[in-house]
Symmetry: C2
Subunit: 314 residues, 2 copies
């Protein structure tokens, strides 16, 4: 990351929740002096202490209500299921003209939970940084997490244009590519590219865990040929993912239904010995992979053989 | 890879098929002088020309029968579905005392296809290198592909111990960790850790491709949060995978059935809003992930955030 000229975009940023996402935001804002002051709140005293120890925040508050006082940007970085209670708590304490954003992976449910608690004169701009690792907590953060990653915002027709531009400038300054999208469409896109793949990965790992004829040590030992990538996905934070599935229920159930249908067609082709069907199907999926490489979302370096592992020094 | 003292283990190795697996074997054997001569056969004249151009083989033959003449090791590195025809062709030309091995991802079907064609006095030792990338063809090979990867052999009670030890010494010399296993058990383990995960990945990519409300460009653009790992798997060679599913049908259908059951239970939990069930399930899957890291099959570096991407310089 090239250091740019220091410029304060918000005078006081309140981070509510101090996990991977918020701690990475804090480090990225600090690296460029984008926030005059960073105030943090986490419900756990230990997390608050770690945030101070790591220098993520200038100060921490025991309650979210205290943390948001006087802040011109409030970032709700708690699990989706905790958004409503936090919004209800902070609503009366938000400064006039402040912007509230969130980092939830689901947007319609967060909007339904938060918007009713945001007073007139405060700008609520829902957001979703599409960045993360399988680790969580304040020590998992790093300043470059958002470099070249998408950060989706789901404003509506009533959203204040100046507030939106200001938030966008902060997110771009910490490296993110910002796009705006309708909240319902966001939830469907995410169900396809993220939520359902995660559920499937969890399921496959669960199947392996339950299978008596194959020991866990065998699964672990021979995991390199496909299964390993599933376990990486399935190691993500359980609370976050529980809330995602409970709050993006309709879109996930829609995509899961389609997935089951599609899987049954392939399963039937296997049972009937229909090699042509399988070959055609597997050939088509290659095109999407090529598109991802061309879009710069991944490199063409082989990654599940030893090749990439040794080349990357892992 | 540290270069060790040159030692010839086989005087003439015949590689039947010159794709990723065979070309990587050739490069690895050459690096240490493990084969007196390497003879190659591929059905495509272009592939044979590339093999000579890259120096994979000392010479190439237009037929498999010519290639195996006088070889003391024959490696069948063709798709599983092509094994029977090749075995029938080479059977009469195999040298007495030679060892025949294969690299198929499925073992029972390969044994059924190949063993009847192997004459008395020739040792057939089925094998499966658990290494690969999503690329194929002779140019995809590299000498370190097998470094620290498992290479499973499925001998039976009648297998000649000296022939097995000799093959094992070659595979260990090119860096592989060799283990032996019953062929039926191999096929079940692979159905769990590799075959079914691949089918699921193909399916999920197909669902995304078919969904009219979400454009392929959106899927591609926002692929980083889970979906990307699926597409990498789903970009693998269609011929190889068609053959895997057709020939390991019983084990794959067994695991697919279990997967569908397990998925439906999770789907129901989502529909019913049973957050406790989801949370418990997602928590248990973390343990397998930890086991894989502890077994040295992967590192703990975060890999689907920007973190690993920038740290690894991708």
């Amino acid at each position: 990351m090239t250091k740019v000229e220091s410029r304060v975009i918000y005078n006081r940023v309140a981070l509510i929740g101090l996990g991977l996402i918020a701690s990475s935001m804090a480090l990225a804002m600090r690296a460029q002096g984008l926030a005059g002051e960073i105030v943090g709140h986490a419900k756990s005293a230990e997390t608050r202490a770690v945030a101070l120890e790591l220098g993520l925040c200038d100060r921490v508050c025991a309650t979210a209500a205290e943390a948001v006082a006087g802040a011109d940007l409030v970032v709700l970085a708690v699990p989706v299921g905790a958004m409503e209670a936090i919004a209800a708590e902070i609503g009366p304490h938000l400064a006039p003209g402040a912007t509230v954003t969130d980092v939830g992976s689901v947007k319609q449910a967060v909007i339904a939970a938060v918007a009713p608690h945001v007073p007139a004169g405060v700008h609520f701009i829902p957001g979703h940084p599409m960045a993360g690792t399988e680790y969580s907590g304040p020590r998992a953060g790093f300043a470059t997490l958002y470099q070249n990653r998408w950060w989706l915002l789901t404003p509506d027709a009533a959203t204040d244009a100046a507030a939106l531009a200001r938030l966008r400038s902060l997110l771009e300054a910490i490296g993110a590519k910002v796009d705006t999208m309708d909240a319902a469409h966001h939830d469907l896109v995410l169900a396809v590219v993220s939520h359902t793949p995660h559920l499937i990965a969890y399921t496959m790992v669960g199947v392996a865990d339950h299978l008596a004829q194959v020991s866990n040590s065998e699964v672990i030992q021979y995991s390199a040929t496909g299964f390993r990538d599933f376990t990486r996905i399935a190691a993500s934070d359980p609370t976050m993912w529980r809330d995602v599935f409970l709050t993006n229920k309709d879109a996930v159930l829609d995509i899961l239904g389609r997935f089951a249908e599609e899987l049954f067609v392939l399963q039937r082709a296997i049972r009937m010995g229909d090699g042509e069907h399988l070959f055609d199907y597997f050939t088509r999926t290659r095109a999407i992979r090529r598109g991802i490489i061309e879009a710069g979302q991944d490199t063409s370096a082989p990654d599940f053989g030893r090749g990439a592992a040794s080349k990357a020094g892992r």
